[in-house]
Each structure stands twice: as structure tokens, then as C-alpha cells.
Amino acid sequence: MTKSKAYIGFITPGFILYTVFMIVPLGFAIYYSFFSWSGMGAMDFIGFDNFKRIFFEPRMSGIFRNALGNNFRYMAIAIFVFIPIQVGMAYLIHLKVHGHNFFRLMIFLPYVISPSIVGFFTLLVFDPNIGMLNTLFLTLGWTNLVSAWFGSPDIAFFLLVGVIGWNGLGVGMVIILANMKNIPEDVVEASIIDGATVWQRFWRVELPFLQPSIINVVVLSSIFALTQFDIPFIVGGLNGGIDGKLDFLNLMFFRYTFGDAYFGETALGFGAAISVVVFSIIFMIALVQKLVFNRLFNR
């Protein structure tokens, strides 16, 4: 490293842009959350009223708890279902099963498909009238399998989670796969010589080496889970789908902040309060995860 003042020149442009468009807005969100403000005209300072409304007003707190619950449910599925699947897929590719290069490419492929097109595919598969599944079941005569899919409150959420998972699983998988390449070969070979089965080798020898990437995927998936917007919005619409089953915090935020055309009001102060709640939750989850990981792995 060099000692020279030149770094100031290199860093300043990026620093200004990053500060103005990334950091300042975070600060302003906190400031606005204490006001009642439609975005134009007068701003009335109302203290914690926006937050009280989110947490305690009967109707609003119901909407909030439902959306937050969906975010958490999605996060739990991402951590306890998707990550094992991602590890499993990565491991098969790592073991070089037949066609492993093709699988790596194809599992990752959905990630490059834009959310609008993912929404279109969802419609094609699950639409009750023209969708592939119902058409298939009717053709085969399996009429008891015909379903309203996203129109059915019992399964809509899980279908959505499946669609989001299909779209994004590949990212976590390649992160874990890259980590597998760093497992020292001599350790693995020693375990093979000692007669470890594939299962033992995976659980006892290889899995511990994957700790850094799995922790990373847990953290990334959690942030992703708490900031869900695109696919729920495109598939379920602004109101959060049937019975609010597809509602998420960011959707709720968007509805009350920019949804003027639909609800006849823009409540920017209230919207700001929702976003402050969202990033406080992200912050707390990140903190809790860090503490848990430190405790678990004595880091």
C-alpha cells in the first residue's frame, strides 16, 4: 500500500454517489417516519403515531402481522428447505455425476430470467383456465387434481415460494459449490482410505468445511426473504393475492406509499415508518444470526 493523498481523488466520486443515493435515504426514512405527510405540502410532526398505527391499530396491525408472517415463513423455508436442497444439488455436481456441467448451467439458468417473464411462466403453468397443469389433468381425466392454484388460499403461498425458489436457487448453489472446491483433497482421500462411506464422508468430513458459504447463504437468503417484492407483486398483484396470502412487507409498503391511484391517498410518512420497521428487522435478524453463529462455531 502507498502513502499518498491520491486516494482522495479516487474515492470521492464513488463516496458522494454512494452517500447521496444509498446512505442519506436511510437516514431520511427515519426522519420522515415521525411525520404525517402526503409527499406535497405541509409535514406534521406526529411523533411515534405512524409506528403506533402499524403495531396497534386493529386493521393495520393485522395487515402488518400477516405480511411480516409471510416474510418470516418464506425465510424459514429458504433456510430449512432451500439450503439443504442447494447443498444437495451442489454436492451432486461436485461429485461429478453424469452431466454435471449441464446441471450446473440449467439449475442456474432461471436466475437470469427477468421477474416479469417468471410471472408469465407462473401464469402459464398455474392459470386455472388455460394453465398447463389443469389442462394436463383434464386431458388425463384426473379431475380431482384440478385446482384453483393461486386462487386457493391453502396453497397459494407455497406455490409462490416454489416459484421464487425455482428462480433463485442457483445463486446459493453456486456459492456453496465454489466453497466445495476449497475442501482439501488429502483430508477427503484420508477418509476414503479409512473406509468412510459416502454419507459419513459428507457429514463428518466435507460439511464442516462448507460452514463459511452456508452461513453466507443463510444471511443472503434472509435479507432476500425480508425484502421480497418483484415476483409476489407480479403474480399476486398489489393487494397481496387471495386473503393476503401473497402479501409481504415491501408490498404493503409500496401499497401505502405509491398506491395513490388505488387508495386515493399517498402516505409518505406512514410508508417511511414501514420501511424503518423493515430495516430494523433486517438489522436485528443479522445481529441475531451473527450471535447464533458465533456461539455455534466458537468463532
Partner: protein
Amino acid sequence: MYKRRQGFGSWIAVIVLTLYCLIAVVLIGNMIISSFKTKQDLLFNTFGFPAKISLENYRQIFVTDSLYKNFFNSVILTMLSIASLVFISSMSAYGLSRYRFKGRQALEMYFLLGLMFPIQIAILPLFIIMRSLNLTNTFLGMILLYTANMSFSLFIFSQFFKELPDALHESAIIDGASELTIFWKIMMPISKPVIFTVMTVSFVQIWNDFYLPLVFLAKRSLHTLTLAIYQYLANFLAYWNFVFAAATFALIPVIIVFLVFSDQIISGLAAGSIKE
């Protein structure tokens, strides 16, 4: 490396993975095939091959709906944003990782905060800031946003710059090169592989981005391809034969870029996420 395992279990795994991958093949294949069907054909023969190949849907989306304008919007916006992002984030990363100064580590942490808080989360104040700067409904505003959202690229560049030997810089100084010349003439050329990684990863992210254009590009003439496809979807029942053609047209460039540069995209995303 390991012996290739071909036991019974591995065949089951291969079959399961194949079925999983078939989802994408069927969906994309069906979309392309259906894009050549007339509305009548689509109605009665939803999932088969077209009775007669028709280019009517494509004529409609290009000539009547001018979807190529949205395509050019996406191309211009993505290219300029990537150029600006690579330029600014590499400079900042270089300043942060090649110079010694007080508060360097704190500043680096500051720049990486964006990995934890995605730009969407403060969209509202961002909207107010953009509006007061007259940057809503402008490509300039979008380019600035995509550039400001630089934590990931900055991280990738920093990892690379930190590995470079000090001698590179010292010998150039002795030769009388200025700091800017060193960056531009020595550092940038050897960073080509990293630049490329950042470019391909940001291409996928910016090209497909839905949220920022939705909020900041309300004006129809500025809509990106992703937004245009969303508009078709919103009126799905009226236009469903066109959606196939429009989605095919939007997806093909990304698939091509992905197939050609899959190694860079995949290793880039993985590299940016493994921190010690």
C-alpha cells in the same frame, strides 16, 4: 479428484436433477413455439406445435407496439449504467485498497453496508431526493442509482486490487508516472478479468431489474423491456398471444449472454459472496 460414482443412487440423483431442469426447458421451449402461433391456434392447440408458423405476433409487437423501443431503452440504460458502475466502483475500490490512510477500514465497512441493505429499502426518501433533483423519469437518474448501488462491484474489485504486489506501483512511480496514469494505464489493463466479471454480473441484474424502473421510469416512452413485458401481462387476457412473442424477444438476448459467459457470471456471483 474423486472417482466418478455411477452407483444406483447416483442414477436416481441424475433422474431427479434432469426432471428439475426439464421445467426450464419445457417453459422456455413452449414459450418460443407458442410465439409462432396465431391466437386461434393458441386457443385450441395450447401446448402443441403450431399448425402453421405465423409471424403475426412478432409483426404486432414490433410494428404496432414498437417493442424495439423498449429494447433500445434497456440496451442504452444497461450499457451506460455498467460503464459508469465499473468506472466509479473500480476507482473507489482502488483508492480503498491500494492506499494507506487513517480510517481506511471504517470507510471500507461503510461502502459495504449496501450489501446488507438493498437499495429498495429506502426507495421512498430516494424517490423524494430524485424528484427534487429532477432525476425521476430520466436515464441519468437511473444510471446514478445503479452506480451508487456499488457495494458488490466494489467488493469484487477490492479483493482483486489487494492481491496485487506493491512493486507494480513503486516501479511506476520511479518511472515518473502520475497516480492517475498508474491507475488508468497499468491497473485497468491487468484488471480485465475482474472488469469482465463485474460487467456480466451487473448486466444480468440491471437488465432484469424490475423495482427501480417501476418506481422511477413511470413515463411510457422510457419503459425498459422488463416493464413492457409486465404491461402485457397486466392485460394478459387481451394480448396473451403477443406475450409469448414479447417474452421470447426479451429472453433470448439474456439467454445468449448467459450461455456464452456462464462461467464469468457464476464464478463472479460466487466470488462476491464468499467472505472470510
